[in-house]
Symmetry: C2
Subunit: 305 residues, 2 copies
C-alpha cells in the first residue's frame, strides 16, 4: 500500500532530480529519502527511479505514479482544506431543534450573533418539542436541541423534559424563568403584587399546547384545585390575546410573553412559584465541534441578555 509520505517524496525527487535536493526540500536527511524510495519501490514491485550517476529520473512506472500522485495529493489538500474550514469555523453547519417560544426569542438573537461573526456558518432550524428534539439529536438529525423542563410545584421527575439522561446527551443550561400569571387588565387582581393560584380557582383558564396544559393542571393541583379550561391555543401570543380579550386567565413563562406586552393584559407573580429551565442538549462529541460550541455560546449569551 502506498503511503502519502512516499508519494510526496517521490514527487520531490522527480521534480528535483536528486535525492539530496529532495531531502533539503522536504526538510529531512538524504538517507531518509533513500529509504523512502526503497520502500516505495518495494511496495510497487518495480523500480520507479533510475540512478544514472549524473541524475535521477523516474522510470515509466515512476512517471505513472508521479502523475497519479499529483491528483492524489491535490485531493488530499482539498480534503484538508475543507476539514480545516469546518474546524476553523470558516464553514460548518449547525442544525437546531427548538420549541416555539425559544424559536421566537433565543434563537434569532443567537443565530444573528453567530452569522455576524462567522458568515460561513450555515444554520438551520426546525421546531420540535422537548421529547422529539432530544431524539433528533440522538438520531443525528440535528446538532442542538433546545428543551425546557418544568420546575416548582409540578412534577419535574415525571416530566423528564431534558430527555433521558441515559441518552448520553450533555446539558447546557441556558436560563431559568418563572411562570407568571396573565390577567385581563380589568381583573380585580390585575394590580396585585402577587396572586395565589387558589384565588383563581374559579376562573376560566386558557391553556397552551398539550404539554403546557399538563403542566398547568399540575400547578393548579398543587394549589388545591382543578382548573376549568375553556380555551386551548397553540402559541403564547394567542393565549395572551385571549386573556386580553377578557376570556380567561393563564400562566405562561416570562420569556414567552416577549418584549411587547400584549394589549389589555397584566402580568402578576404567582404563588406557589412555578417555572421552567431552558437548556440546550447536544452530544458530548459535538461540543468540540467549533460551530456547535460557538452556537452554544451565542445561545448562552442570548439567554443572559
Amino acid at each position: 500500500m502506498f503511503e502519502v509520505r512516499h508519494l510526496r517524496v517521490l514527487r520531490a525527487v522527480a521534480r528535483t532530480g536528486s535525492f539530496s535536493a529532495a531531502a533539503r526540500e522536504l526538510g529531512c536527511t538524504q538517507p531518509a529519502v533513500s529509504q523512502q524510495m526503497r520502500a516505495l519501490e518495494q511496495a510497487a514491485g518495480t523500480p520507479l527511479l533510475v540512478r544514472t550517476g549524473r541524475e535521477t529520473r523516474p522510470t515509466e512506472a515512476g512517471e505513472a505514479l508521479v502523475r497519479h500522485a499529483a491528483g492524489i495529493l491535490a485531493a488530499l489538500a482539498a480534503a484538508e482544506e475543507e476539514v480545516a474550514a469546518i474546524a476553523g469555523l470558516r464553514a460548518g453547519r449547525v442544525r437546531l431543534a427548538s420549541f416555539p417560544s425559544a424559536s421566537a426569542a433565543l434563537v434569532p438573537a443567537a443565530v444573528a450573533a453567530l452569522r455576524e461573526e462567522y458568515p460561513g456558518a450555515r444554520v438551520s432550524l426546525v421546531e420540535a418539542g422537548p421529547p422529539r428534539s432530544a431524539e433528533m439529536v440522538g438520531e443525528g438529525e440535528c446538532e442542538i436541541a433546545l428543551v425546557y423542563r418544568h420546575t416548582g410545584s409540578g412534577a419535574p421527575a415525571a416530566d423528564g423534559a431534558f430527555g433521558d439522561p441515559g441518552d448520553g446527551l450533555v446539558v447546557r443550561p441556558l436560563l431559568t424563568e418563572r411562570f407568571v400569571g396573565l390577567l385581563p387588565e380589568d381583573h380585580h387582581l390585575a394590580r396585585a403584587e402577587s396572586v395565589d393560584l387558589g384565588e383563581l380557582a374559579e376562573e376560566s383558564w386558557i391553556a397552551g399546547c398539550r404539554r403546557c396544559r399538563g403542566h398547568l393542571v399540575r400547578i393548579c393541583e398543587s394549589a388545591g384545585f382543578a382548573p376549568r379550561i375553556d380555551f386551548t391555543a397553540d402559541g403564547s401570543p394567542a393565549v395572551a390575546g385571549l386573556v386580553g380579550a377578557g376570556l380567561g386567565v393563564a400562566v405562561l413563562p416570562e420569556s414567552a410573553i416577549g418584549p411587547v406586552r400584549p394589549e389589555g393584559v397584566r402580568t402578576v407573580r404567582i404563588t406557589p412559584e412555578a417555572g421552567r429551565e431552558v437548556a440546550a442538549l447536544t452530544l458530548p462529541d459535538l461540543v468540540r465541534v467549533p460551530v456547535v460550541a460557538a452556537m452554544l455560546d451565542r445561545l448562552s449569551a442570548a439567554a443572559r441578555g
Copy 2:
C-alpha cells in the same frame, strides 16, 4: 497530515457504523480502530465521528472527509493498478536502440516473441550506432541499447564499443560472431575453405558504414596491407549486392548476411580471424523492470536461435 490508513479506517467506520465492525472488516482489533480515529480527529482538529451509544455517525467534517476519501482511495487504487500493470508486464514500454543488422535480425524475432507473450507491452525501436545508443540509455531516451564491439585483429580497446564502463551500464552479452569474407561466385577463391586476407590484398574492396570501414581497414592492416576501397554502401544487403555483381570483395559479420544467401555471392572463412561481440546495454535499475528483463531474455533467445 492525513494518512491513507486513516482514511481507510474512517471509511470503514462510516460504512459499518461501528468501530468493532470496522475492525473486523479491516482485520485488526477494535482498539486499533479507536486509536486510528483518535489520531485522525487530532490531525483534523475537529471531531469526525459522534458516538451515540447505539451507533456511530460521521459529523459534518467527517462526512466531508469520507467524501474526499472515496476519491483519494480510488485514485490510489488506480495508481496501484497502473503500476502493477507495468510491473506485472500486462503493460509497459521498452524502447530499443539498435544498429542496423541487429534491427534486421535480432530485434524482429525478439519483439515478436515478447508481444506474443505480453500483448500489452509497447515496444519501440530507433536505430543508432553503438556510441550513440549507449548515450541514449544514459540519457533516458531508451531502455536497451544493442551494441557491438569488434574483436580479433582489430583494436578492441580503442574501439570502446560497449560504451564507457564508467557509465554504469550493465552489459548483457548476446552473441559473438565471426566476420566472413564475401566473394563473387566466380572468384578463384570462392570455393576455398578459408582465405587469408593477404590473398585479397589486390582486390577491390567494398566497405559498409563509416565504423565498419574503419574496422575493415584495421583488419587488413593486421594482415599486412591497406585495402583499396572503391565502394562504400550503407547496409549489408547493399554490400552483398555489390559483391554479387562482381564489383569487389568484402567482409561482413555472419549475421549481417541473413538467412538468404545473396545471389552470386560465396562466403568464406577468413584468417586472421576477426569478429564482433553483440551485447545489450541497460541501466542496473532497469534490469529489474519486468518488461525490460523480458525483452533482454527474448533478445538472448533470438541470439541463440
